[in-house]
Amino acid sequence: MTIGAQLINLFAAILLLLAFAMLSQRRVVSLIDLFAAQGLVLALSTAVVAYTTSQPHLYQSVALTLLLKVFLLPWLLYRMVRRLDVRWEFEGLVNIPTTMLIGIVLVVFAFNLALPISEIASTVTRSTLGIAIASVMLSFLMMIVRRKAIPQVIGFLAMENGLFFAATSATYGMPMVVELGIALDVLVGMLILGVFFFQIREQFDSLDLKNLEQLRDERMPRPGVSRKAQAVSPESKQP
């Protein structure tokens, strides 16, 4: 195994570790640090792939990753956390040891899913495809178990990181126009979410998602939604 391939495997392993670290991290600020670290490792591993396989177009995605995921997005997130003053997260839906165990099961599943694909792949990075899918799934798990808005969004962004890693592992990266489009979408999405967080905050005084669980098919509408809501008598409510 060449030194390049070893380095790529090392970075992949670090990515997986970071994904687990994010799963167990309760502090929002540390979560952002971990996300930035993930972006950095991603950029390094892409750079090694670009160098060992001499794929010049990958350097552009390295630059894009560094700019977007190591500097811009973490900076935006820090700003948001500071302005919204949410430093701590107290509890998740499932306790952390259980989450980790579910995570391990997911990793096993991801490796099995990746097996038939990486057999066909001819890239030097094919062995890391399992790790890429695993980090996508771990981020997904993180989104499910977190109750606060910002950790959920970090999970969402980490998922995008995992997908980017999958693209580099399986195919040496997507065509440039697509990659630019994805980056644009992520950035615009982040900005819209920023606006959105302030709206939630203004309305509920907190970013706890338990405030956002009122909508049901047979719910009594909240005041302001319908001016006649109070007129409905309880007897006429459907089961």
């Binding site: 038939p116 989104m143 969402f156 995008e160 195919t171 126009v177 697509v178 309305q203 909508l215 909240r222």
Partner: protein
Amino acid sequence: MIGIVAVLALPLLGAAVLAFVGERPYASRVNVAASLATFLAAAGLTLDVIAHGPQVALGRQFLVDPFNVFLVALTAFVAFTTSVFSRPYMLIEAEHGRLPVARLRLYHGMYQLFTFTMLLALLTNNVGVLWVAMEGATLTTVLLVSLYRTPASLEAAWKYFILCGVGIAQALFGTILLYFAAEKVLGAGGNALLWTELDAVRGDLEPTVLAIAFVFLLVGYGTKVGLVPLHNWLPDAHAEGPTPVSAVLSGLLLNVALYAVVRCKILVDGALPGAFARNLMMGFGLVSVVVAAFLLLRQRDIKRLFAYSSIEHMGIITFAFGLGGPVANFAGLLHMTVHSLTKSAIFFAAGHATQKTGTQIMQDIRGLVTISPVVGWGLTLGALAILGMPPFGVFASEFLILTTAMREQPWATPFLLTALGVAFAAIFSKVQPMVFGDTTATRLPVRPAMLPVFVHLALVLMLGLWIPPFLAQWYRSAAQLIG
């Protein structure tokens, strides 16, 4: 080529102008003008395709073929009529104090950008750009759903963002796998994601990879189509956003997402020997039809009711494409057209009804015919059309789908018939008292903008009786393409 550029550039230009115009009183007129210009450009493009046939333009990056040309025309048309409807509607909403006038800048700008992303998704030949445009369509509508900034609308928008965001991430993984398979055959680079190139070599693509890719693509784009069990965001977003947004979400966005699924299905069908993709689509479609039909029964909110009806109809269309074959595909394409026209018409009428009565709760809406005969009759006719009453177009497409299902997949017909019956009972029993029930309310002096409703319903009626030959020709060749 100029047609494609115009169709895409005009809404972008409109968005820029509207951002500049802001909350000035004529902003809503500019919005209508921009939508009209887009519609005229789309009509021009359509005429061009009628005269010269399908085309691939701008370095093969854009594609117009029988499958997407009518969707482009439909999207531009409904976006235009919705802008006509939204002009008085949003002004009255602002008057009622549901949103500050200043926020109309955001509304108009995002409305145009949303039109742009949908048209881009339809016209692009690049499967990757299709993904980017679909994600863009989510992003532009999130702030539209939360436009009123009520707790309920914020919740709906958050759910919409997260669920569709996760869904669309699955679709991205599917696209990556598709590129991975394509790169083996076509070589690396931008061309390997061009749909026309992929279609030419679809028999050589690696079947295992494509099967996995299709699962991810179906789940991903299926979230946006609103297929059960991925539909949770849909009723909330429809009920809590402004009515024009509900109309374009139901009438257009669901269609565009389904279009993305079917484009991918064509590639997968070519690569896989069995009916893998078709069975998956049939299953998802049937589950959506049945579950949505039963959920219709317990709805209390008029917009939620018709949102569930959209899930049901998207299920029918997905099922039709899953059945495959010239007749079912033809019916699926027809159903996409008539559902889009009918459902947006219903949302227009329902929007006026809620505005006049001040509530979305159906028990509190009574006697619409007394309050405003046009709104009452518009809602009744729309409901009858969507329930598949002859001679409306929905009847024709549902009849074709049912008879094909009886012939080819007889086991599915009882489910379909039950679901259609339940949906009929649910919707009719709720709409009838709203329209004809007793009311103490008096007739309001304001004249509603009901022209779009009746134009849509007239078109649906026409499609039930007579399909223009060029449209039938497109449906037939698209049906053949879908396989």
